[in-house]
Amino acid sequence: MRTIRLNGEEHRLDAPDDMPLLWAIRDILGLTGTKFGCGMGLCGACTMHMDGQPIRSCVTPISAAEGREITTIEAISKDSVGEKVQQAWVKVGVPQCGYCQCGQVMSATALLSRNSSPKDSEIDEAMSGNICRCGTYNRIRKAIHTASADLKGGA
């Protein structure tokens, strides 16, 4: 048995060292908001935060998470930036199929947490690891600007 700290709580689970966090959290702990898209860290659908930094959980072994704080989409609304990002996503009507959007929200939250007023070029750089096959990129840019404005307005 091993222990991981997930969304502010300790969880005990039986999983081999090399099991990616994605599958440990989805299959064993039962949190399904984080999605599987490629298994190679290429698409960003599985983005979580480890100590506040975005990681690709499909290629991060659970052994690397020991002693770290893991945050998934299920808890991101408790983060003031995350909450604004989620609200902006709904307001702008970003999602189409929505499958990649939890990962997009996690990446956008990480971006706005370190840069509250990103330019388009900075957005493109920070979000380029997250694929959206529906093609919602233009609204993602718009929603990040919206969330940025909301954060500054203290709304």
Binding site: I123, D124, M127, I131, R133
Partner: protein
């Protein structure tokens, strides 16, 4: 919201089934009993009536009101990003005067006998279901008004439903929908003639600007339920090792090492079908485990000997030569007008070009996945399927059960694009479920599985040749299209395109050219060919719209003026006059091809994009326009080609005339998404075969656009047809004009013609 249903933990789009039935049934829902239909008898059925299961407009199927005032609206179409769960429910809510905030959308299970057609493809959900959903809502509104007036003992004419209540203005009385739920359930159903549909100026939601979404909040908080999000205690997880070449099967396998992986429970063979395999699985060896990771590791440890296949030598480079060779010779004549040979012989100038488009994979972000449980002779499936009824039929057959003992629950689809019309992955889950009775069994596809075992978009060579007279007018037009056909998955020896492929921009070109010949030389398929968003319109429009640009250059004319001249005078063309007896299944009397509407979208896009303005070096505008899915879409792309050959797409201007615009924001979002999908297939989209196997395996070698390649701006213009017309499609028609507009822009920027997709490193 997770609720326990029997032994399964399910999340059913925010509403628990049991609670729904109990809550609504026990408290008096709006239940209508009459067999109520507005459909008219027709000799040949068109539109929704022509689809399997037809149209239903019985409100009891689609609307329920609980005593707390919540209105439950059932959506029978699959949600894959087009927003249909929202848009159709908004139509019902508007007609019945329900407050959207008090409405909940319930997803129907697969049952076409009950719900009518559910096959979510062909860009037809709104065009087939707008009127029936309005009728449902209007009947519900009339009954709510009647219930209130009876209760108050006043004339029904003096009351009206408004914003989730019924009011009697003179008596200052008001009753909420919830208060009326029980009374309304006891009312007889009014006859169709008594129902008044709203006038457009009374609409609250229909045609209004809004970003309301039934699923938006659930999606961004991780609560939305996709195919892999169904969970159950003790469930098993499987991945399948499938034959690397279509037509091969496992001759033998060694499971010893796989079974040594901790958590692996079983290794089992899944029987496959060879061509024509329809929607059946292609077979393979399944590894079933306690979790997905163990199943994947177990699969890695399998040793399998695969049999030879007739497709072992399928090689895309070789096949391309066959396609191009076939395109130089005459083939099956799809349409012929005038005397093309004479036109070519007497031409002032002739020009020809051959275009090539490779296979492309759908690559929805959610790879195929399905969960099934077989318990007490009842099979229940949860799957992201575009074709719930086909899935149900397949699942029942696999389980050896009658349809009534098989239930297919439709989850949200993490993208579909045509891939998830096929039940192959659902069949696999049923096979595993059969081996684990009473347990939920999931089959999860990896991205590698998805790219290597897709029902790929066809691959084609398109040969075009045209003649000009001394004034630069087109006198003859020849278009040969050679491509393996989708019908090859259904029947042997299918070498020619079906009507539903040819009449996607090949045969049904609306050009005013006196001498025209449309041909389709045959070719064999060596892999599974399937529908990809906008289907055969992709190669046909790419070739024809690129060639129009080439001919304009040959004639020394402006592309826009040349195109409008080619279109000729404004007229409505009966599709049968273009030898199109298919017409997307729509009535040729009401769904004509209107050249004025085509002209208007291209003129709108051109004007808004600043067509005719001078661009600086290395930058240019390109245009294309295409009619498909009974809608009209034009695109103008403003593109810069950098010195290193990289592309910057500064702006995409799109104009669509899809007839009446029901949910404008979702029309725009579909155009935006279509733009990116068009850019994807134009720039990097390619699945190529060597030794019968796809070369590409994941997003590193099957690249799709990332955010930096998205246009800096996408401006979508919704064009009013300016006359009364029928509804058109929205989900697909935005895709076809993008690749030719992009390549025409590259030509404007650099002088280089792109005749082979993807662009890849051709500009480097």
């Amino acid at each position: 919201m997770e609720k326990t249903f029997e032994n399964l933990t399910i999340t059913n789009h925010g509403i628990d089934r049991r609670g729904f039935l109990k809550g609504v049934g026990a408290t008096g829902a709006l239940l209508l009993t009459a067999n109520w239909s507005w459909s008219q008898e027709q000799e040949k059925k068109y539109g929704g009536e022509g689809m399997s299961g037809g149209i239903k407009n019985d409100p009891k199927l689609f609307i329920a009101i609980s005593q707390d005032g919540t209105v439950y609206i059932t959506c029978t179409r699959s949600e894959m990003g087009q927003g249909i769960r929202t848009s159709l429910a908004l139509v019902v809510a508007d007609e019945m005067e329900a407050d959207w905030k008090k409405c909940r959308v319930v997803q129907a299970e697969g049952d076409e006998e009950k719900y009518g057609n559910q096959n979510t493809d062909g860009s037809r959900s709104m065009r087939h279901w707008y009127e029936p959903m309005r009728q449902c809502g209007a009947v519900a509104r009339a009954m709510l008004e009647q219930a209130a007036s009876f209760g108050w003992g006043v004339d029904p004419e003096d009351v009206r439903a408004t914003k989730h209540s019924v009011v009697f203005p003179r008596g200052r009385r008001r009753a909420g929908f919830g208060e009326l739920a029980e009374a309304v359930a006891r009312l007889p159903v009014p006859s169709g003639a008594a129902i008044r549909l709203k006038r457009p100026n009374e609409f609250r939601y229909i045609g209004k600007e809004q970003t309301l979404s039934a699923d938006g909040e659930d999606i961004v908080s991780g609560k939305a339920t996709y195919g892999a999000d169904i969970r159950s205690v003790g469930m098993v997880y499987a991945v399948v090792a499938r034959p690397p070449v279509f037509g091969s099967k496992a001759e033998s396998y060694d499971e010893v090492d796989a079974l040594k992986v901790k958590g692996v429970l079983k290794v089992m063979e899944i029987e496959g079908a060879t061509a024509p395999s329809e929607f059946k699985p292609i077979g393979g060896i399944a590894v079933v485990a306690e979790n997905t990771w163990a199943a994947m590791k177990g699969r890695d440890a399998l040793k399998i000997k695969w049999s030879e296949s007739p497709n072992d030598s399928y090689d895309s480079k070789v096949y391309r030569k066959s396609l191009e060779e076939a395109s130089t010779k005459s083939g099956k004549v799809i349409r012929s007008e005038g005397d093309l040979d004479e036109a070519f012989a007497s031409a002032r100038k002739k020009h020809a070009a051959t275009y090539y488009l490779p296979h492309i994979a759908h690559a929805p972000m959610e790879p195929p996945v399905a969960t099934a449980v077989l318990k007490d002779d009842f099979l229940e499936v949860w799957a992201p399927t575009q074709a719930p009824q086909a899935a149900r039929t397949h699942a029942a057959e696999r389980a050896g059960l009658p349809l009534e003992k098989t239930r297919v629950n439709v989850t949200l689809l993490g993208g579909g694009f045509g891939r998830k019309s096929k039940a192959d992955f659902i069949n696999e889950a049923v096979e595993v479920a059969k081996a684990f009775p009473g347990k939920a069994a999931r089959v999860q596809w990896t991205r590698e599985d998805d790219l290597r075992h897709d029902y790929l978009h066809t691959v084609s060579a398109e040969y075009l040749e045209a003649s000009l007279d001394s004034r630069g007018k087109v006198t003859g037009w020849l278009h040969r299209s050679v491509a393996p056909t989708i019908t090859s998955i259904f029947a042997p020896d299918q070498r020619n395109q079906a009507a539903f492929e040819s009449n996607m921009g090949h045969g049904n070109v609306p050009f005013a050219v006196p001498n025209l010949r449309i041909e389709n030389p045959g070719i064999d398929a060596h892999t599974r060919i399937g529908w990809f968003r906008s289907v055969s319109n992709i190669p046909h429009a790419f070739a024809a719209q690129s060639f129009v640009s080439e001919m304009a250059e040959e004639a020394g004319k402006d592309h826009l003026k040349f195109y409008l001249d080619l279109l000729g005078e404004d007229r409505e063309i009966d599709p049968r006059d273009m030898n199109d007896g298919w017409n997307h299944g729509e009535d040729p009397e009401t769904y004509t091809v209107d050249t004025a509407r085509l002209g208007k979208v291209i003129e709108t896009a051109a004007k808004e994009a600043g067509w005719g303005k001078r661009s600086r070096k290395g930058r240019g505008l390109g245009l294309a326009v295409h009619y498909s899915f009974v809608s009209y879409v034009a695109a103008v792309l403003d593109v810069e080609v950098k010195k290193d050959g990289s592309l910057v797409i500064h702006k995409a201007t799109m104009a669509i005339d899809c007839g009446p615009q029901i949910n404008p924001d979702r029309i725009r979002s579909q155009m935006e998404g279509s733009c990116l999908m068009g850019i994807a297939l134009a720039t990097t989209g390619e699945i190529s075969f060597e030794n019968g196997t796809p070369v590409q395996s994941n997003f590193h070698d099957y690249q799709v656009p990332r955010i930096p390649l998205a246009p800096k701006e996408i401006a979508v213009h919704l064009v009013d047809p300016g006359k009364e017309v029928e509804l058109g499609g929205v989900g697909e028609p935005g895709v076809p004009p993008i690749a030719p507009a992009l390549c025409n822009a590259i030509h404007a920027a650099t002088g280089k013609r792109i005749r082979s997709l993807p662009i890849g490193d051709q500009l480097a």
